[in-house]
Amino acid sequence: MNRLYAIEATPSLTGAVADERFIAGPRETHRVLLALASALLGAPPAEGPPWLDRIVADLKSHRGRSFIHLGPDHSPEAHALVCAMNESLGGRGAVYTLVDDPSHVSSDGALSLTALVADMRANRVSSLLIIDSNPVYAAPGVLNFAEALARVDFSLCLSATPNETTGASLWAAPMIHPWEGWSDARAFDGTASVMQPQALPLYQGVDPHQLLALLLGANAPKSLDLIRQTWRDQLGPPDAWTDALAKGVIANSASPVSNRPLSNAAARVQLPEPPKAGIVLLFRPDPYLLDGRYADNPWLQELPRPLTKMSWGNPLQISPRRAREMSLKDGDVIRVAIDGAHATAPIIIAPGQSDDCIVALLGFGRFHTGPVGQDVGVDFFKLTGRSCGAPDIQKTGAKEELASTHHHAMIFDEGGVYARKGALSQFLKDPEFIRRNDEPRPAFYEWKPEGPAAWGMSIDLSACIGCGACVVACQAENNIPVVGKAEVLREREMYWLRIDRYYDGPPESPRTSFQPVLCMHCEEAPCEPVCPVGATMHDSEGLNVMVYNRCVGTRFCSNNCPYKVRRFNYFDFAGEERRAIESRNPEVTVRARGVMEKCTFCLQRIAAARIIADRDGEKSAAVTTACEAACPTRAFTFGDLAAKGSEVAARRAGPLSYALLADQNTKPRVTYEARILNIDEAKGTQK
């Protein structure tokens, strides 16, 4: 089993799923790099933190199979140094390969945004074309792009939605959505793809190819012709075009593996000095809004951030110790000033963050966008691009409510009871250690499924990275409404599937666990007997179904659900959503006010599969739930427990499989596979 160490300043998903995670602020990271260089490259001796010895020993004893990955925020020198370390670890070709960078990054200083802005300021730019980009909002604040743009005589911005840049440009041209037109793209390794439209444009607009062609002259060719022309030479016979469309990628277009040796200078590179300041401000793109381009997407605004569980806002993340020192609590508003620019924002205490930094998420505080993203959160772009000096932090005394879906952001020592985990060594000693204490319990009434299938799900907690893709996939599939910040604050979010996050250990450096929780489709479902009108009941295949039009809204089922996976339409949430009717899934009922709802195991997909099976005379067709389909790590396995050779049944029978709240004796159809960490128990990193 592999072992992942994470060393990071602020908690990330990688750190959360790492076997061991260590906290290092910018200065500490500098020391770690120097110490690693000394240990692996024979650089002058440098002392690293005590825990580094273990990592170095592991790296050295697994030469040819180990790898160091450095985050994108670090200096080119640091990257060069790490490349040299990897080279010395000898994993090239086996653990990693290098390819020539397929994209045309303007690393040339003369072509950088800074240079452009300088030219604009000096009135050396008379016409500016901005395609699908929003520099007025998302350029480093120090550049003051908007002011520079005002000096340009002719500016045209092509954008799918109104934004800060279309507002500041002379002309704004509407762009179609990338799904609505022909285009091409390259993947990280250079693999090319031809993108064919998935829908006719909903609104009138042009795509970038068309715009550029139009600017070159009248009688511009169509985008499709332009794309075909580009790839004609590489593809050869006409069949190859259709082939590429069918496969989605152009075969063998990946960049070749580079066998060039690394320059010797890489190992001797001088790292730039780390910031001197006690606390620095680190900027990170919001995990869902990125640089704010998705700020007008309510699904992404509301989707709880994996670690903070924040929706509709970007409080500054601060370490528990710093918060204590400054006597700050969640929601206390502070004023951060750096080089004359300042922002006022609430804080949130981020367990596991370095004391040396405050983290600001970018992408919020959009001031010219659609109704959803307008003025949600705080714009920290204006603080970017400035010195790395210490920011001036002042308490304002104000307080803001944080719309977190974990209404109790506390450190909880019993998290492991729910999201179970253990060390590899424990597993090897006793494969069933995870469920040793779950006694089988007697049932008063034994329910026997009579249907042809017995649907069940197994969720692998070792695979789950807590990203939230399943949550939003479920939302899209099942027409789950977005409720907005005010209703999230009132604890009324509607997610059928949520990802619970637990912390174990000290707040300064906890271990994080994720656990997707959805309706367990209990065989002995506690929700069913308490409903006075029988609006929730079992079907013959073991699904706990909800009859919306029978529900009168007593909400007793929710009280009786130990997993609390039922959601209630306190208002007409679906009706209040401003969205195109076409954006809803026509196979799924839109729920009315006053009705309870919950996960159906994507009943509509099961029904569709049943129809296909009936038509083809098979026993049952495969069903993939929306969450399962979206999961990038295949944590979900859904299927028929009764079918021969079914993967879900095999997983359920595995040694790590356990039921959540087994003592409730609900006989859930959803079971979990405990997370196994490759850690050394003797070193005391895990209880």
């Binding site: 209404h407 604890e491 619970d500 006075p532 029978r550 529900c551 007793f556 009280n559 339409n569 006010r593």
Partner: protein, 467 residues
Amino acid sequence: MTLLRTGAAIDASGEDRRPRANDPIVFPAQTISSMTSTICGPPLRRKWPLWWKLSLAAALPFVVVLAVAVGWLFYAGVGIWGIDWPVVWGFAIINYVWWIAIASGGTFISALFYLAEVEWRSALNRIAETITIFAAACAAIYPILHLGRPWLFYWLFPYPNVMGVWPQFRSPLLWDFAAILAYVISSILFWYFGLVPDLATMRDKADASQKRRFYGLLALGFRGSDSAWRYYTIGYGLLAAVMAPLVISVHSIVGLDFAGAATLGWHSTEFPPFFVFGALLSGFATVLLVAIPVRRLLRLEDFITGRHFDILGKLLLTSSLCVGYAYLMEAFTTFYGPDAAEKRLFINKITGELAPIYWATILFNVLAPQLMWRQSVRLNEALVVLISFFVIIGMWCERFVIVVMSLRRTHLPSAWGDYTPTIWDWLTLFGTVGLFIAGLLIAVRLLPTVSMFEMRETILRYARRNQ
């Protein structure tokens, strides 16, 4: 204490009407005819004193508030309340349980003590039953308001329909629906049935023809003949025999609304008797709270005497001890049982951020009534009113603890939440308080406050005994 004994305690006639330990059940000075005119007097009076007008003027706006709150609720949905996820039950259920328990006092005193042939009840049963009617009415609206789709409430009723759909008979809410319906209907019948002979008296006493017609219509032609009385007594006894078990069943089933669920903090076999104890306590407290001002304001001192204070005080104390026992057992079973989540919830109840509400419950329901061990306290009107008021508040807090505090801390810590009632929650609560008070005020204005026909028997029996 001296402060409380001054001024108003002295009757206009100069006679001291403070309750005393050796008071008889009815003062011998009262004859049947003097009693009848004392009781008939106020409803037949043309003009009513200022206190009545002022009280009604204070109560009626709250009725309007209730109407507005309910109207807005139906229009906008239950989202206007503070209920959320995971606290999906809130004020509606708290208030429902609170009111239905307040209603119990009347039934206890009227039905149970009637069957037990308790003499002192005749002075209090009318007041108590009137409390029952209005409190039950206030209670009965809440389960409907509580629903997400209140216009479909009748789906809980097992009526034949073309789709062959029946309610879910395993659900405690269905039992509750049946129990409360039976209870409200029987309470109204019992109250009205008990009123009939007195309405006939009012008809006979009324001077204006309008009033005669009003009371005559309500009296249903009761003439007081021997046969009428014979059937009446049988009917009344039967109704009392129905009511007495009903009051136990209704509160047991309200308890099962909670105990029937597997929810933390609710799943306990002690709930049915615990809810009956709670109902007794709040029932007696409300009777005291209402009877004390009514006694003064309507000059009923000769009928509601120190004996009544003494007995009701002891009953309040007894039921408070029962409730205290239930609280103790709740703690005991929690820690005796194996469920860690139950224990965590209980510790949160007694030490968490809402712990003051738990301790207010203990203080108001268990500790404050202990003052009633002293006879001097039981006879001190101001203190009795104060303690009864405490109990009423305490019982509301108790339901808050049961409903909200249990739901806030469920099995999975990830699903823990908070609960903040909104202005509409409070307005609906105060609105029903206004409805209750207005109802009582109108009832004492129109109807005899003491059951005259039963009082006559009591007076006769007393006179005979004293001969």
